[in-house]
Amino acid sequence: MAKLVLSSGGTMLRQCLVDKEVVAIGSDPDNALVVDDPVVDARHASVVPVGNDHILEDLQSGSGTLVNGTKISRHILQHGDVIQLGSFYLRYLNPRAAAEDLERTMLISGLPGLDTARSPGSSDISRVRSARRTNVHLPSGQVRAIAGRRAGQTIALDRVIATFGRPGEQVAVITRRPGGYFITHVEGRRRPRVNGQPIGTEARALEHRDRIEVADEALEFLLD
């Protein structure tokens, strides 16, 4: 279960459990969480539970609602978030969410009133960016084209993969991973060369200043 801890001037004032009920926040005494500050509106904000989330919503308050220093209108609360209302602070604590205890697939009822019956044809697809934020540290590198159609150019290796060569003839892929950059043969009878040696079937780790030859291109790999 999550909770909101209200404090002011470094003193903890009270805490309020957040579970399945909406928590109303404001200066009016009938709020579940009363924040008695002159700049806090009678009905200032609310915390709405949806599934495993608690969504903080600013109710178009005069002085606004800040989360970790940023003004928000709606925000999915994260363990440790600090909500600022006037001179008061509300800390959101949800150890369960923090423990990544929510990975297992579970069944839940959908939101009512949504037309989920419509066919999933490609026409009505809006993209949901559901890939979670990852805090993976990736290396930074680039290749400098020495020979070939891009000679003289520098190509940043800032995406998960970059392909080189000629489709149908000879293609190699350089993969960016937490442990470094790797080169792998993709297609073609001839294999790409690194420092003059053809690479094998497995991915080969790239070292700073390795020289790569693929199709008509010669490249120098540079690790920043």
Partner: protein, 270 residues
């Protein structure tokens, strides 16, 4: 008429954190069938549910695909999906009723059946089907998930979805109730199209833009593309089991010898 030649690469991995793999995949390029399931339930019952569902849907479709004939093609493939999914649902549901340790088990499902110049798609839950066409990745399914509902209802923005803790909450699953309604749809295939079936262990950790880049850049080597998708999910944390099936519609129909024998035989009759 037989389907265009389909090349398939399928791969599943427990991920970097979990000990067990509750995903299950099965594919037959000759018959143009791909099935993927992501099980749920305690005490490894999820594994039972996903295996059972995959096996039944796959076997039923294999049986039906061998018998599908051009003159009944019309809605027969969708009908075949519908029947096979119902059968799997019933079996998983009955098993869950029969054993206490299986109680409440269920599974997501994504299935494709290629035929003629078309593909029949079916899905339940948050396993997805994407299509890469002319370098552009498109999502062909709508997740049965709370997160998707929230975005559609305007409760949260698509950009904020990554901050949600609701990623694993599905609103529909196979085997949970006596009957299940699957989402079924047909799509016209074009030579060069690549279809991707995946469990949420992929799209939860890898952005659509990166999926597009990997599938687009490595489509000449489908097994390598599948491998890179899984590797990227694991590099990004690999919190969940991750499975992918890539099905590429070959640019040209090779000789009839590529066809499974019942279809070869029908071809010869024509």
């Amino acid at each position: 008429m037989p389907h265009r030649f389909i090349e398939i690469a399928a791969l599943t991995d427990a991920g970097s954190v979990r000990q067990f793999n509750e995903d299950c995949i099965e594919a037959d390029p000759e018959l143009g069938i791909a099935v993927l399931a992501d099980g749920m339930g305690g005490h490894r019952a999820g594994e039972v549910a996903s295996r059972m569902a995959t096996r039944i849907v796959f076997d039923r479709l294999r049986h039906r695909a061998a018998g599908l004939r051009s003159d009944i093609a019309g809605h027969a493939p969708l009908q075949a999906l519908h029947e096979s999914i119902n059968q799997a649902n019933q079996a998983v549901f009955e098993a869950s009723q029969a054993r206490p340790d299986y109680r409440g088990m269920g599974t997501t499902l994504a299935v494709t059946l290629f035929y003629d110049h078309r593909v029949a798609l079916g899905h339940i839950g948050d396993s997805r089907v994407y299509r890469l066409r002319d370098g552009v990745l498109e999502l062909m399914t709508r997740d049965d998930s709370l997160l998707r509902d929230e975005v559609d209802a305007g409760l949260i923005s698509a950009a904020d979805a990554g901050e949600s803790h609701n990623r694993s909450l599905v609103t529909r699953a196979l085997g949970i109730e006596q009957a299940v309604r699957a989402h079924l749809v047909e799509d016209e295939t074009r030579p060069g199209d690549v279809y991707l079936l995946c469990s949420d262990g992929l799209n939860d950790l890898v952005d659509d833009a990166d999926i597009e880049l990997i599938v687009g850049g490595l489509q000449a080597n489908l097994p390598l593309a599948a491998n890179h998708l899984i590797q990227t999910a694991k590099d990004n944390g690999g919190y969940d089991n991750v499975s992918v099936i890539l099905a590429k519609v070959e640019p040209s129909v090779p000789g009839a010898r590529r066809l499974p024998w019942p279809l070869r035989w029908l071809d010869w009759l024509r």
